[in-house]
Symmetry: D3
Subunit: 190 residues, 6 copies
């Protein structure tokens, strides 16, 4: 709630709340989504956030944005947002999008420029650019800081590592396959 | 919450909740924001909503979108959303945007393509296209149906009419000025 | 939640939370609504708040009160509370009250001593004393600090000023009428 | 949220939600608090509620009122509201009011006409009229239906009865004392 | 929400929020429920809590546990949790459990090892071990700090004392019976 | 909220709400967690739920339980609950438990009989029985129907299938490895 702006400067939720005298338009504005993010990941996509860490005025207001950029063939791999529902709007190109329900049903669709799609709170979802040119989307979340868990990275690159027997049992394959995935997903040394 | 999908088809919040067997991607998708809305209002702007009335799958999920289109010189006049904070992202052109705090301070800024701005919950705000070409923005709300009250229309065109003495006293002018505004804002007869 | 009282003194939501040993009845009591507020506004009404700024014990509890006093002919002009529903109870006299829905329908009624009326969250509403003697009401809100935006003052007296072209376009009149309203509503110099 | 008013008539939370075309001021108004309730209880007080059961328009809005009337010496005996914080405003007379914290500390005060006092969510509280004339108060709750448990009646007059060994152990007295209280509190036969 | 872990160490709700670098498994674990609590109360039961005061990682997460131990014939006397619903699971022995609704109806049952029972938010409830051996239960609450008011102690042992005339009127007995209960429930001097 | 019990029988959230006259203890009780679930999965564990689908009285109350049973070496594989935080209590045996934060840090611990551990809302977590005898745990959730997504099954066994290129790109391996996992995780034909 904005009323905190009328009080002495304090922290709420760990973020600064400015007094009325000190707030300005810059607390509520952000220019960082204007340009495509630089894609240098192996999956061919990048996420640029516009949450309370970037826009102080969002504190306590329960909403945020992100920009998603995809190279041709790029994937925003299966992930969850522990604290938010997401709705995307395609800015450029087209995307194959999908989420899986708690009854293990895949709900998917190809969406084009100007179209929207909803990923309900907490469910695993992904977007893939199967076109031959770059794509981009804007995502809105009903949390000031929705959080993200990229499923493959969470399971295969956490520190310390998730125990091998958890992974071999969960995926029902041997340590050879598990180690292969771990190797592929490990951050590259320069 | 999505769990209602696993039950028999029912209504929650007055909107349909489908059973798991009956949901499909079309319940979570919407194409209606892809094209600019047709501007035929006297203020030179139009709002196209993408809320739970258009996207059934949004029911209980607490988020929605809208597309805002502005002719050159067009204004989305001062209004409030009784149930949501809004964050806008400029799709095309540039906009002069602002909101007024409960301490009567105007917080305003000119934002360009790709830039974002926040309008905190329930506060009066507006956007104006002072450029010489069309502008457009995407708006996200943390409500599945945020509601809108356009201030001038609310006060001068409600049915039945807000009493004249309320308006003359509130604006401290005579019935002549009040009636002039009422006439100008009244829906045009064809 | 009251449990903060059992901890060391801290601030929550920017308001003090006292430890158990330090709280007393005075943290939960307020005498400031007992007498009518002094009416010296041009609209003939005054609001006296009893929120968390006056009653520290309300912090985190989600409720507050206000006393409304009206001279004969006095108006509590159209306004919104961004963060609360309001319910009023007439203490003295009678009032013409109303709110406008998001479908632009005026819901209004004359209420007398001991009668109550509801103004739903975030909607524009007003009360007017059309009787020939003073009136008073008690208002309850489901927020510890509901906030208020008086519509005419918000649009015509904010600092800095809302741009003239926003106002002329919103109300569809010329700068002459806009400036007249601004002049009338401007704080009087002494 | 009021948006349900714009849809077909349905039930939400078990209460009717009318369509926009069907709502009227009477859905938001209530006259039942205007006159003192009739006191015919052994404790010398009576509560008249103004909640969603009486005011249909309160549905989903999270607030309600009640009127409390006290004969000289009358007591609103120790009770809790399972779903709300309460704030009282004295309409007539004076009251000794108090609540007990979860650390077993009594917070109490004598409040007079026009004064207010807060009873935090879920805590046991009471009001007593120790004056020699009638008293009355208005109570606001941040729930559309706060619920009430009058402690003595809950323990000694429930149907079926709370087992004797629960009561003798809880109060550390014999069945003689327990039965005496049960007899005294039992509804009178005519 | 856990995101506070990623910030500098701060306090939220009066409890510490650690930065990501500083959290460890010990912030989310608790061993204190493993052994039966020591019963030395006159009612023959003891409650061991596992809330945010014991498990720092529960801060903002809205859940907690407690262990309940009962001697043969032991009673967890009628009480309320102002901020939570409770659900119990019997670990050992069997229990007579019950709650009273706001319509003064007793809902009760005998539950055995491995069985569960719900006590809705804020309602008076109790458990009694009518068996001839020790019993134990695990209780879960949907609050990180649900709070407890033991009814008899709240009314008869608060500091300062609840006034005698409140108690005599509430229970409809004389000061002799009230004083007898007070004496019995008073903390024993050593 | 329980107040719905006092009204005519209706549905709220898609679950039945009984009138006061019709509720009984059986609406709030459940015996289904008393015995270990039968483990016939390839991972060596089974979950038995005690949510609103089993206990009608939990409707609107925001809490539920589950019983977790593990064979020696059994794993409750990495999964999320989209709508709840979880806290577990070990009933028998010992468990290696862990969750991964949104900063990709594994927080893990071995917990023994009577010990508890928290899995914050929406985060991927698991439990494994590395002992040589059966283990069991009770889990509490702050949702009446928390939902579960078992990560490996969600990605490799959904219907229709998550596209191969999404999986090969997410895990950075070829279709051979992906198909091997799919084969292993596919429901067995009888």
């Amino acid at each position: 709630m904005l009323y905190l702006l009328f009080l002495a400067d304090i922290k709420v939720n760990g973020f600064a709340c400015k007094s009325e005298a000190n707030i300005s338009a810059s607390d509520f504005a952000f220019e960082g989504l204007a340009k495509p993010g630089i894609i240098n990941s192996s999956v061919g996509s990048v996420v640029t956030t516009a949450n309370v860490e970037k826009i102080p005025g969002l504190n306590t207001l329960g909403i945020s944005l992100a920009r998603l950029d995809y190279a041709p063939g790029g994937l925003n791999p299966p992930h969850t947002h522990p604290r938010a529902t997401e709705i995307v709007f395609v800015l450029e190109g087209e995307l194959d999008v999908g989420f899986i329900t708690t009854a293990n049903k895949l709900i998917s669709k190809t969406i084009k420029k100007g179209e929207t799609f909803v990923f309900p709170r907490g469910l695993v979802h992904f977007q893939m650019n199967n076109g031959d040119k770059a794509a981009a989307a804007l995502a809105a979340f009903n949390s000031q800081l929705p959080g993200t868990q990229s499923i493959a990275l969470t399971l295969f690159t956490a520190t310390p590592a998730v125990p091998d027997d958890v992974l071999t049992k969960a995926f029902q394959v041997g340590t050879k396959e598990i180690n292969k995935i771990k190797d592929k997903l490990a951050p590259k040394k320069s």
